[in-house]
């Protein structure tokens, strides 16, 4: 028995209103796609605002874009995460635990499941569904944390959410934790680095991390515009940073100077 819900699906570059049946072992998407997708054939699930992207096999993997209200997507995600083809484990997780260096006050351990998919890790519990895209993982650490007065092994994941650095923790039996850690280490090879920064460049990187703009960095470290540009080039070359935007510094032409001179003249002159 499938429960039918209204959705929009992307078809040939357009969003088409249709219905989607959510069943125990598959979903059915109505016309114009008119297809059934078993959960077991799904290999990836991504979330973008009010859309989910489901990638399913078996051979030529196809991605389905589905848009709907949060409630519908939440039910759909839960079925997909708990039944799709992914490495899954039962675990406790705390996400987010730290945001921008500040401990999240109401952070608590949630009992649920973790599904490791092609492009991200999903945490699902009764209360929440949290996705950490692998491309946004900035660090993984096998560490210990005091939980209910016991020192227990956890995996600490640093990741980005809209340019904010967030830390999440996963707690499960040590052997499973090691598997998760190894998988994540492998999947996030692209953010590993060998480069060492000189102290000044390191300080600039720290200030960028903290949210300082170029002008604040120049003032704090008493750097000229040219010196800071050279440091930025080093950070760009190492792949530690990317250009957010290019800002211009200008000076007035004779025409501009004339305009300003005229503008400050008293009307009676």
């Amino acid at each position: 028995m499938m429960k039918s819900v209204p959705v929009k699906v992307e078809h040939e570059g357009k969003w088409i209103p249709t219905t989607m049946g959510i069943g125990e072992d598959r979903i059915h998407i109505g016309a114009p796609l008119d297809c059934e997708i078993p959960y077991k054939s799904m290999v990836d699930l991504e979330e973008k605002k009010n859309q989910v992207l489901i990638t399913a096999g078996p051979d030529a993997e196809e991605t389905y874009r589905i848009a709907s209200v949060e409630k519908v997507l939440s039910v759909l995600k839960k079925f997909v995460i708990t039944q799709c083809s992914a490495y899954r484990l039962n675990a406790f997780f705390m996400s987010p635990a730290i945001r921008g260096g500040v401990l999240v006050q109401d952070a608590h351990w949630e009992k649920g499941a973790i599904a490791v998919m092609k492009t991200g890790i999903w945490f699902v519990s009764q209360e929440s569904q949290v996705c950490i895209p692998l491309g946004d993982v900035a660090g993984i650490e096998f560490t210990r944390r005091e939980i209910q007065e016991k020192d227990l092994d956890v995996v600490k994941i640093d990741h980005l959410i809209e340019n904010e650095v967030v830390t999440s923790f996963v707690l499960c039996p040590k052997t499973t934790l090691q598997v998760l850690y190894n998988f994540l280490s492998e999947a996030t090879q692209n953010t590993k680095y060998d480069e060492e920064l000189d102290p000044l460049t390191g300080q600039v990187a720290m200030l960028v991390y903290s949210g300082m703009d170029s002008s604040a960095i120049e003032n704090m470290l008493k750097l000229s515009h040219k010196d800071l540009d050279a440091i930025y080039e080093r950070l760009l070359a190492t792949g530690f940073a990317e250009v957010l935007y290019v800002r211009k510094e200008i000076q007035l032409t004779a025409k501009g100077v004339r305009y300003i001179s005229d503008a400050v003249k008293s009307p009676t002159n």
């Binding site: 921008g100 260096g101 500040v102 720290m206 991390y209 949210g211 604040a216 704090m220």
Partner: protein, 120 residues
């Protein structure tokens, strides 16, 4: 907005915190580079809030926190330490810290934490 004393043994971190807090409209009434100086500056300046590094020479942040709380039980202190020293949280909270920030930190979150502690 509050009158804040910044305690950290590195000038770089003090300058960074000063910039962040100043951008949030706070007054930086003083700075200290170790725990002993922190207590002296606290008694002299009576700030609304202290940001306190944990690892410092001479007197560390936890000891300085205890000394400040002994002198003024209503003192509002936010502890500040590096990643991996989160175990210090419990000790700091037990010793009377009102908040905790972990280095490296991001400006908006620091301002949020300061606002929360000041308004508590």
């Amino acid at each position: 907005m509050g009158r804040i004393l910044i305690v950290d043994d590195t000038m770089f971190m003090r300058t960074l915190l000063k910039n962040i807090l100043f951008s949030g409209g706070h007054d930086i009434v003083g700075e200290a580079a170790d725990g002993a100086e922190a207590l002296a500056r606290y008694q002299e300046l009576k700030p609304d809030l202290v940001t306190m590094d944990v690892v410092m020479p001479k007197v560390n942040g936890i000891e300085a926190l205890k000394a400040i709380k002994a002198a003024d039980p209503a003192a509002k202190v936010i502890m500040c330490t590096a990643v991996g020293q989160e175990q210090m949280v419990k000790l700091a909270i037990k010793s009377g810290a009102r908040g905790y920030i972990v280095k490296p930190f991001q400006a908006p979150k620091v301002l949020e934490e300061v606002k929360n502690v000041l308004s508590a």
